[in-house]
């Protein structure tokens, strides 16, 4: 759960993303990166983050040292040699360029996927024929309780039926969605986390289940996490914070 504490640099998905941003911002030719300039920009960014006392993911620092090493390599005298095709192959920047290009490719693919988001295709649940269906005994250990709990968790992600005009279904009074919002609100309000059992204020059966499933789901969504200092001690639920 320690990733909960790792603050991500705003708007950047890692050092490669930050570098691509700088390259775009300064209209730099990706195949001919002015290492000294970009290193300076990059370091400025890192310092700004440090100044804001943000916890910088170690990958950013690794990249910083890579850039600094590149910079000093580029300053070596053999740079005087005229750039030829052969020289290009030995360009110390080559590896970084490849990584940037590779990353860029998938970043663009992600954007294309994003454009498709919401164009949902629907599949229906399987059909069963009720008449004289043979009783099918099940085999030992075909499934685990884990599967069952997983199904409970998935229940929430499922599309809910929009109550049609003439439906006979009685809507649940305590929806898990609602309970997730409640739990999240409570947890958000308490900085030091909240005792797990304090979430179960209303001891009615459906509410207990709804709350339990809500916490489970929130954990899966990485919106809250739980901590237990020692075995059998009280559990605390904490808010993870922005995604």
């Amino acid at each position: 759960m320690n990733q909960a504490y790792r603050v991500k640099l705003p708007t950047f998905e890692g050092p490669l993303d930050l570098l691509l941003h700088l390259i775009q911002q300064y209209e730099i030719d990706i195949y001919d990166i002015p290492v000294a300039d970009i290193t300076e920009q990059y370091m400025e960014y890192i310092h700004a983050m440090q100044h804001l006392e943000l916890n910088i993911a170690s990958e950013y620092l690794v990249m910083a040292s890579t850039l600094l090493a590149l910079k000093s390599q580029m300053l070596l005298p053999n740079q005087e040699v005229e750039e030829t095709e052969d020289e290009y192959m030995d360009d110390p920047r080559e590896e970084l360029v490849q990584r940037l290009l590779e990353y860029k490719k998938y970043k663009e693919a992600a954007q294309k996927l994003k454009d498709h988001e919401g164009q949902t295709i629907y599949i229906r649940p399987p059909t069963f024929i009720n008449d004289n269906m043979s009783k099918q005994k099940v085999k030992k250990g075909e499934l685990s309780i884990d599967d069952m709990l997983h199904a409970l968790g998935k229940m929430l992600a499922r599309k809910e039926w929009n109550k049609p005009l003439d439906t006979k279904i009685k809507r649940t009074e305590i929806s898990v969605q609602e309970q997730m919002r409640n739990v999240l609100q409570i947890v958000k309000r308490t900085d030091g986390g909240i005792r797990f059992d304090a979430l179960f204020d209303n001891p009615s059966r459906p509410r207990i289940v709804a709350t339990f499933i809500a916490v489970l789901e929130l954990m899966k969504k990485n919106q809250v996490f739980c901590r237990q200092k020692t075995h059998f001690s009280d559990l605390f639920v904490y808010y993870v914070g922005g995604d």
Binding site: R124, V138, I145, L149, D166, T167
Partner: protein, 195 residues
């Protein structure tokens, strides 16, 4: 929107409506056309489905329309359900089973309240697979059937007794709520650690 486009959208809507089905009124509303046109298109679809290279059909019950398989194909469908690949429990059945396991004895309506969706099919499946069984009737209006897990349920999950289950199950009345919550979580953690 031309008739063929309307027909395609209505087929899609019928398909997606699943077990719940859809009414003429709903279709008219979504497509922003009058009910007579909807009925006309449903008739056209029905006619298409009568062709013997089609495997689905429209059924109508209490003014709700559903897509369904053709009765003459039930033999094949039964065979598919009986083949190993399909014996895996569906998401709906698993959810329902989890709820029954935790809260037994429980009525179908109570299950539906938690799932927020009609659950007669999954209950039916679980019954037919002998994972759950009837446990008498609840002493309330309509005396609804109560369901609980069966012996086969234990076998299926490789358990020797219900006590091995992450129990929100039988002693709910006696267990104090706090204790129960702790138990829930302890189990959930255990499961998580196993991953």
């Amino acid at each position: 929107m031309g008739i063929s486009h309307l027909k395609s959208v209505i087929e899609g809507l019928l398909f997606a409506s699943g077990d719940q089905g859809v009414t003429v009124k709903q279709l008219a509303h979504i497509l922003n056309i009058d009910k007579t046109t909807v009925k006309h298109i449903l008739d056209k679809l029905k006619f298409d489905y009568e062709n013997n290279d089609r495997g689905i059909t429209i059924i109508e019950s209490h003014d709700i329309f559903y897509l369904a398989t053709k009765p003459e194909h039930h033999h094949y469908i039964k065979q598919m359900i009986d083949t190993p690949h399909a014996t895996k429990l569906s998401q709906a059945a698993l959810e329902t089973l989890a709820i029954i396991a935790y809260l037994q004895p429980i009525t179908r309506t109570e299950i539906e309240e938690i799932r927020g969706i009609k659950s007669d099919r999954p209950v039916q499946t679980l019954l037919s697979r002998s994972l759950i069984e009837e446990r008498g009737r609840k002493e309330t209006v309509g005396k609804p059937i109560l369901f609980g897990t069966s012996k086969d349920f234990l076998t299926y999950f490789g358990l020797t007794s219900l006590e091995e289950l992450p129990p929100l199950s039988e002693n709910i009345e006696e267990t104090d709520v706090r204790e129960e919550a702790d138990l829930f979580f302890a189990n959930f953690q255990k499961l998580n650690n196993n991953n």
